[in-house]
């Protein structure tokens, strides 16, 4: 099992290296272990996360790509679809069936033809357009809905922090 997962991860890494999508950098943390990746995501232009560079890690299961990886930001984040510990909660990262509330029936699901690139692009869209219906961080979802100004202020602080600029 792990053999095919490894082959696939190597192929995806090569693909990302030769054809890198804008604003995304990703690859294995070390040469020894292709099942743990690090990624850098640039906050999309025209959004309150613009210009930030946010680090995250991806952990792949032994049966990848039958099952999706898990993704977690390793910097401080405040966003409706990111848990306070950094775990990302979007539909493409859910195995089919892992949707007890049924609120994601109409969105993109994980399948073996998805890829790391697709996940990271979805995360960029998620930064640009939070989904306040699936609240991984209910406080952030509430603030996004009811006090956008305050949300943008916090986002701006996180952007500066990610760049090492004092607030």
């Amino acid at each position: 099992m792990a053999g095919s997962a490894l082959r696939r991860l190597i192929a995806e890494y090569k693909q990302l290296m030769s054809n890198p999508p804008e604003g995304i950098l990703a690859g294995p943390s070390t040469e020894e272990n292709f099942f743990e990746w690090e990624a850098l995501i640039v906050g999309p232009e025209g959004t309150c996360f613009e210009g930030g560079v946010f680090p995250a890690k991806l952990s792949f299961p032994a049966d990848y790509p039958l099952s999706p990886p898990k993704m977690q930001f390793t910097c401080e984040m405040f966003h409706p679809n990111i848990y306070t510990d950094g775990r990302v909660c979007i539909s493409i990262l859910h195995a089919p069936g892992d949707d007890p509330m049924g609120y994601e029936s109409s969105s993109e699901r994980w399948s073996p033809v998805q890829s790391v690139e697709k996940i990271l692009l979805s995360v960029v869209s998620m930064l640009a357009e939070p989904n306040d219906e699936s609240g991984a961080n209910v406080d952030a979802a509430k603030m996004w809905r009811e006090d956008r100004k305050q949300f943008e202020k916090i986002a701006d602080k996180l952007v500066r922090k990610s760049l090492g600029i004092p607030a």
Partner: protein, 266 residues
């Protein structure tokens, strides 16, 4: 102060909600694990009499099981994991091809070419390669095993990776067919979804159950026929038959009981 209480209450609710979600998922995994431990991916051939004994206290199903036993002799069960249609079909079809060299060669050629069709439809090559290679490997191994073809087929289909990779590839072929004939299949899709969205949500992900539309698209893509016998609580004492695509000559017979497919043999 009042605000703070409200906020901490909300946080509590969130925690409760998450726990509820995770509990449901945990329970689901537990059930899946029990099924995994007790049911092989593809079982041995059994007499249809075994089915009758399952329904001794259920008159409707018992009469249908008796009816089924008049038409067919054997049953082969598959694991009920949402992939059963694709797994059952491919197993039964390859089994049939073992006795038909000409059709085997045709199918091998069709399978070989199918990857280029999928790439043309926009599937990234690096995501489909392994699945296609696995299907070709299984087709070849089974075909080259001569008298041991059946045993080889049974062995490979009960190895999780081989078995699941074949299911993935059959799902992709099905998705490709739906997208190729999107205009036609759009009429059968409920809700406000395009064919592409339907494929992303209901066809390509593993463990998603198959409906008529999956069966029609797959059998059309493979240029073969499937007869499904429906056994449910509906009126009558007979198991109704549906042929996919309509009017085709079935090369595989499947038994459908709500939510699940098994293989039937004359």
């Amino acid at each position: 102060m009042g605000d703070q209480t409200a906020q901490s209450k909300q946080t509590e609710n969130t925690v409760a909600e998450i726990n509820q979600d995770e509990l449901i998922m945990q329970q689901q995994r537990q059930i899946e694990k029990e099924i995994q431990d007790t049911t092989p991916l593809v079982g041995e051939k059994e007499s249809l009499k075994a089915l009758e004994s399952e329904y001794t206290t259920d008159e409707i199903y018992l009469s249908k099981a008796k009816n089924l036993a008049q038409i067919y002799s054997f049953l082969r069960r598959t694991r009920p994991d949402g992939n059963c249609f694709f797994r059952a079909f491919t197993y039964a079809y390859l089994e049939k091809l073992l006795n038909n060299k000409e059709e085997y060669t045709k199918f091998r050629e069709l399978a070989r070419k199918s990857k280029d069709d999928l790439v043309e439809l926009g599937f990234p090559q690096f995501t489909i390669e392994e699945f296609h290679d696995t299907l070709m490997e299984v087709i070849d191994k089974v075909g080259e095993s001569g008298e041991n073809g059946h045993a080889e087929l049974h062995k490979l289909f009960n190895e999780q990776t081989y078995s699941d990779y074949i299911v993935v590839y059959l799902r992709l072929i099905t998705s490709g067919q739906l997208q190729k004939e999107a205009e036609f299949y759009q009429n059968f899709i409920e809700g406000d979804r395009t064919v592409k969205e339907f494929c992303h949500q209901e066809v390509e992900p593993m463990y998603k159950e198959s409906d008529h539309i999956h069966i029609i698209a797959m059998s059309t893509a493979l240029n073969t026929g499937v007869r499904v016998r429906y056994m449910d609580r509906g009126a009558g004492t007979e198991v109704t038959a549906h042929d996919f695509p309509e009017g085709s000559i079935p090369s595989v017979h499947l038994l459908y009981r709500p939510g699940h497919y098994d293989i039937l043999y004359p």
